[in-house]
Symmetry: C2
Subunit: 240 residues, 2 copies
Amino acid sequence: MPNPSAAMLVIGDEILSGRTRDTNTHFLATELTKQGIDLKEVRVVSDEASAIVAAVQALSAGYDHVFTSGGIGPTHDDITADCIAQAFEAHLDVREDARAILAAHYANSGQELNAARLRMARIPDGALLIDNPVSSAPGFSLGNVHVMAGVPMVFQAMVASVLPGLSGGAPLLSQSLRLMRGEGDIAAFLSDLAARHSDVSIGCYPFQHNGAYGANVVIRGQEGAAVDAAMSELAQEMGL
Amino acid sequence: MPNPSAAMLVIGDEILSGRTRDTNTHFLATELTKQGIDLKEVRVVSDEASAIVAAVQALSAGYDHVFTSGGIGPTHDDITADCIAQAFEAHLDVREDARAILAAHYANSGQELNAARLRMARIPDGALLIDNPVSSAPGFSLGNVHVMAGVPMVFQAMVASVLPGLSGGAPLLSQSLRLMRGEGDIAAFLSDLAARHSDVSIGCYPFQHNGAYGANVVIRGQEGAAVDAAMSELAQEMGL
């Protein structure tokens, strides 16, 4: 059975303008690979409702799971919850379970639960809350879409809350071999190797080191024996 | 007149698996912002022909410019040129101008221009070559799609080759103000400010520093006077 598939949707003008560097995608990619869920596509869109809704609908239909990052804070440009509700034609309003979480948090920290902060308790009908142990304002899962904060520390905590509940497949195993050979010198052999070992995927990533050309060859697969077999052939061919 | 729009397409399993961290998107975002071209969407797709072709067609139709990164090396998994040709129904074969560039480079470096390396001279009919001062194998522009290498040093050199030929709009100006105030405390004011200043966009990016809550407010726009006006109001409201 193939692994479950996933897509990531990053919401934020600040990524697209270059002001902020997205680190959530790399974190999620690493965690999903460990769990045997295949991240197949990432999209970054701007803070425009039409762009967010279209991306949510396309990705939700195309993959088993969708993870979103960004746009769930208290300010006017935080429109992700509205867009998810619209994408699923779900009703959106302040929900009592989310309000109670925020009320406890702000009472505890001596801050006011004002109208802006109360926006973060707006949760679509039918959604499950995602625990936020860092700053309390919850994310939520609606259908196959998991809606999380953009602040990396909060995003990472929410991923840790969500992932254990999702069933994964076989984790992807990989072995790599660093060769001081030009990519073009080994390409023909790698192509033959890939044809003989269709149960693994073989990638080749060139680098330069002190002016010399090299390449990292990475062999990935779900069965250790298959990865071993292809890697042994590669090592033998390279005289190692 | 609105600025030209752009999309970025990153091609590579190694990004989606978490093995490699994509740095090309952030570089391109920064360069486009300087030139007054609005990056509106980013997609990362796997090394599968159907995924690449579909993304190229969707982004090429949706934006003024599309920039791709990855998949133009000599190995069997480098299928970007094939996919671009397919997306535009263009003929793809070794082109003499590209072959001449590679022949000169490999003669110079004492390496063999073998069949694998010759793959990098396969250029779609009608495409313009993109200069690669780092490792010589050219990128190309076909229609509004600019096809570039994934290796960051080469990608950056190719961006420098392509961007001067594209007409930009007004560069996006921005000013930011760092406030030691909770995002929720200033959200209502920022919402009003945004409504009064529709000629700028106002973003709010929370942070924690030594346990205290703060926020960077960023005001962006194409006219300096408009950004100044909104920023003055913000500073006044904050008592600065």
